[in-house]
Symmetry: C2
Subunit: 143 residues, 2 copies
């Protein structure tokens, strides 16, 4: 992925994020985060990550399917709020592990548009209380 | 609170939100949510609330200190991202209960500016993994 990559929409950033995770490409995954704004990431464990260095280290440890068992992520966008320079998406993620499914997870992504197009500035992920899985037809399946 | 209330800043909405909760004023609490945009709220339990009716019913049940034991909320804003029409805040909440403290909670609030000034469109709250409480001097204490 080019260092000068321009994401034209928040959706492009989102697609690139999940693709990079499943491709185990840490450089691509970091490319989607803003370098112009402060960035923040909250994991379902309740861990708070502030800044690119902490985020990179954490996702590096997560991008190992042999360890995490994550083989596929089904993503459904429930709501979007968008203006010219900022957008927030509310998503549901269902993780497909080696032997089972996990989740769903509830995710809030906030994006900002800067000199290099749209980038992610904030990801907040927590476990949903729901046990009913999203129908596959409703979601955007990345695998 | 007037139905024509204009919040001049996202911070004004945020202050009104916590004030209304502690005052047990459900009408004031609902006033801070947008009526022009779809609204969404995620509780630390993982419950997802979509729309004003679900949000009202849920917060009504939470605004009973005899039941919840919540007497005070210490709020610390960690990060803010803001443009002309949209803002996202990352916060830490510590709940002071009758006999103890709970939390911290990690909160993402997204606000949008519409014809009635700033309003909340999305609240995502989940439990933090940290057990170290925020120093009181760093936070904005509402009680």
């Amino acid at each position: 992925m080019s260092a000068l990559l321009l994401f034209a929409t928040p959706e492009d950033v989102e697609t690139a994020f999940y693709r990079a995770f499943l491709d185990e490409d840490l450089d691509d995954l970091m490319e989607i985060w803003s370098e112009e704004e402060e960035v923040f990431c909250v994991h379902p464990t309740g861990q708070r990550l502030s800044g690119l260095t902490m985020i990179r280290e954490s996702w590096q440890s997560l991008m190992n399917p042999a360890r995490t068992g994550i083989r596929q992520i089904d993503v459904t966008c429930l709501l979007k709020w968008q203006t010219m320079l900022m957008a927030t998406h509310q998503l549901v993620e269902t993780l497909r592990l080696d032997q089972e499914q996990a989740g769903p997870m509830i995710v809030t992504h906030t994006y900002m548009r800067g000199s290099c197009g749209w980038r992610l500035v904030c990801r907040h992920c927590s476990a949903s209380s729901e046990t009913i899985l999203m129908p596959e037809s409703a979601g955007h399946v990345l695998h």
